[in-house]
Amino acid sequence: MNTALPGGIDCDVHPALPGMSALMPYLDPYWQEQVTVRGIDGLDLASFPPQMEANGRRDWRESGAKPGTSLERLQRDALDGFGSRLAICNPLYGVLAIYNEHFAAALARAINDWITAEWLDREPRLRASITVAAQNAELAVDEIERRAGDARYVQVLLLAQDEAPLGNRRYWPIYAAAERHGLSIGVHAGSTFRHATTSNGWPSYHLEDYAAHAQAFQSNLLSLVHEGAFHKFPALKFVLIESGFTWLPAFMWRANKTWRGVRAEVPWVDRPPGDLIRDHVRFTLQPTDSPPTGADMERLLEQIGRDDMLLFSTDYPHWQFDGQNVWPAGFSDALKRRVLLDNPRNAYPRLKEALQ
């Protein structure tokens, strides 16, 4: 057992929408009719097929039910199971992948109403990410403004494989709204399938797509650095969720070296990319993609060079570890304490306020 350090903030749990019928009470009459007449349902992201065991741990699954649909199970397995004082809900329904941006905005609003009524209002330990239609920044900002008054919403949720790399200016109005309201930007693994899941085209296997999320996150970090997003929004934290983090040192070395050679192209980037990333970007714990031994992990943590970058997460109900073994080998108790509480509080201004 290594739940000896309870009281943490679980920065990635996934309440799942059972199906479109659960959203009907939250859709306006027009969209209720559209959804019914056209039989629209099944918008779970192809990046996370619910039937895969990796997306619903066997002992966290109710037979016949989509994993993550039960509040009672989430309370028991995730909150009580790890003694967490808070958990942040990241719903992964496929709003960001919808081509009709009006429909996406209506669904985003409905998802947030559903999260508010059926999760946040029923469990005081829950916090949530705002689902937005990032297809259109104006519509996304409307939704952020609508939720900003509810302090239980702590970040805006985007996907790592979207239409454009996330430093692109089309996303800046979203970042401005988030910064204004003390929200962070959560970037979760997953693709809207606007592009092949690798720049070499479409792989055959889910395993390859899943592994490739790491390269997508790295492309996004390059974009955020070089488009100048970290300079434009200095108070904003970007939280990479379900990204893995053991690739970070090697990535930063290459990014730093490339920037040294080519920095004249991006004169606004006045510090090495690794320094900017260390100041502005945080990573959830799971999956850890651990090296072979705890000693290797200690070396890797030293290379990361900061103890404030990792945020506790279980990724419930996804299967990233067995039993209660949420901590990879090589984490000291002091680091665990930071990862559990201090780091999440510092990554989410709204949690810092709430827990003072």
């Binding site: 792989p203 889910h206 893995g244 090697a250 050679g261 080519v262 993609d289 090296p291």
Partner: protein
């Protein structure tokens, strides 16, 4: 600088005299056409008029410019333009004087940054690849036996590729088969397997130099804006390429096949392998054709060239990366004459033992390419 792990860290470059005695194998040397007309003598006359009337068609927006303008003309060092007026890498004598002789290079593995593989007109692509190989043979490898060419192939047409490989079979001037890495499909996909079968049968490694255009966005999150991003993103795409070769089962079907990933770095390899092992453990039912952990294929079938050698914040981290990677995996490369080339004296900012130097600077490459 303080040694942290018991190894001596070189505060300055190692003495040139010790390295000068070592013969090097440079696994990424760029020769170049003096003019696109250089290939015409090796192409049927129909292509002469075709090229004049229609030109080449590649999946890029501009007729001649790179979609991401490089940091220097021809991507090259300003001092590498030959005195006779051709582009960098186009003059054998100057390449000998500037690279092969001063660095005591025993073998230089040639990678031409031009292929017919991403030409959209497939017949033209096939003719271009054949012409490139004839030209390389006549003007480079036959004139300097230190230089070894790669068989440039039209990989999107596997039967034509197999014919081209077999045309050069047994010719010691050709040490590997070169594929464009931004292929239309990930290179582990089945359509490319006849190429691997032919290469494996002849004992030729597959050389995978970051190159080409396939019409896909350069990141899985779309098109980036800047060359500073694109340059790093092509290396990230090589990570996806390695994942593809391993997960699609290429090395299961062709266990003796060797893949050499060129100019994509190497410090990323351990973390990619760790990640694959972790998720393979949960998804292995999807890929029952894999009989080993993904990391084991990396350790058995893939090698990496060194340039651009990564520069961690503390030099000794590079030694840790090599310990994780395996010292037998790394092949030294200069990338001459490109702007970001590595010189053997300065590529690695930590001191290697004599034995480690022999491995990285020559013996690993000698084994991979079967050089005398």
């Amino acid at each position: 600088m303080t040694p942290q792990d018991g190894h001596t860290i070189a505060a300055a470059a190692p003495s040139p005299t010790s390295r000068a005695r070592l013969k090097l194998i440079d696994c990424d040397v760029h020769h170049a056409l003096r003019s696109s007309k250089d290939l015409l003598p090796y192409m049927a006359s129909r292509w002469h008029s075709h090229l004049e009337d229609f030109g080449r068609r590649r999946p890029v927006p501009f007729t001649a410019a790179s979609p991401y303008p490089k940091t220097a003309p021809a991507l090259s060092r300003t001092d590498s333009w030959p005195p006779n007026g051709g582009p960098p890498g186009s003059d054998l004598v100057f390449l000998q004087e500037q690279l092969l002789d001063p660095y005591n290079i025993e073998y230089g593995m040639l990678h031409l940054l031009m292929s017919g593989m991403d030409e959209r007109n497939q017949d033209l692509g096939n003719a271009t690849c054949s012409a490139i190989n004839d030209w390389q043979h006549e003007h480079w490898t036959q004139k300097d036996r230190r230089l070894k060419a790669a068989i440039v192939v039209p990989g999107e047409d596997p039967p034509a590729t197999v014919r081209e490989i077999e045309r050069w079979a047994g010719n010691p001037d050709f040490a590997q088969v070169s594929l464009v890495t931004h292929a239309i499909e990930p290179l582990g996909r089945r359509r490319y397997w006849p190429i691997y079968e032919a290469a494996a049968a002849l004992g030729l490694p597959i050389g995978l130099h970051s190159s080409g255009n396939n019409g896909h966005a350069v990141t899985s999150a779309g098109w980036c804006s800047y060359y500073v991003e694109e340059q790093h993103n092509v290396a990230l795409s090589q990570q996806n390429l390695a994942i593809s070769l391993v997960c699609e089962g290429v090395f299961e079907r062709f266990p003796a096949l060797k893949a050499v990933i060129v100019e994509a770095g190497f410090v990323w390899v351990p973390s990619v392998a760790w990640r694959l092992d972790q998720h393979w453990a949960r998804m292995r039912g999807e890929v029952p054709h894999l009989t080993m952990k993904p990391s084991e294929y990396f350790r058995r079938n893939i090698w990496y060239t060194s340039q651009p050698a990564d520069e961690p914040e503390k030099p000794e981290y590079l030694r840790q990366s090599l310990d994780w990677l395996g010292w037998d995996r790394l092949l030294f490369a200069t990338d001459y004459p490109h702007w970001d080339m590595d010189s053997p004296e300065q590529a690695f900012k930590f001191r290697m033992t004599e034995a480690e130097q022999r491995q990285v600077f020559a013996e690993n490459a000698r084994a991979v390419y079967g050089l005398a």
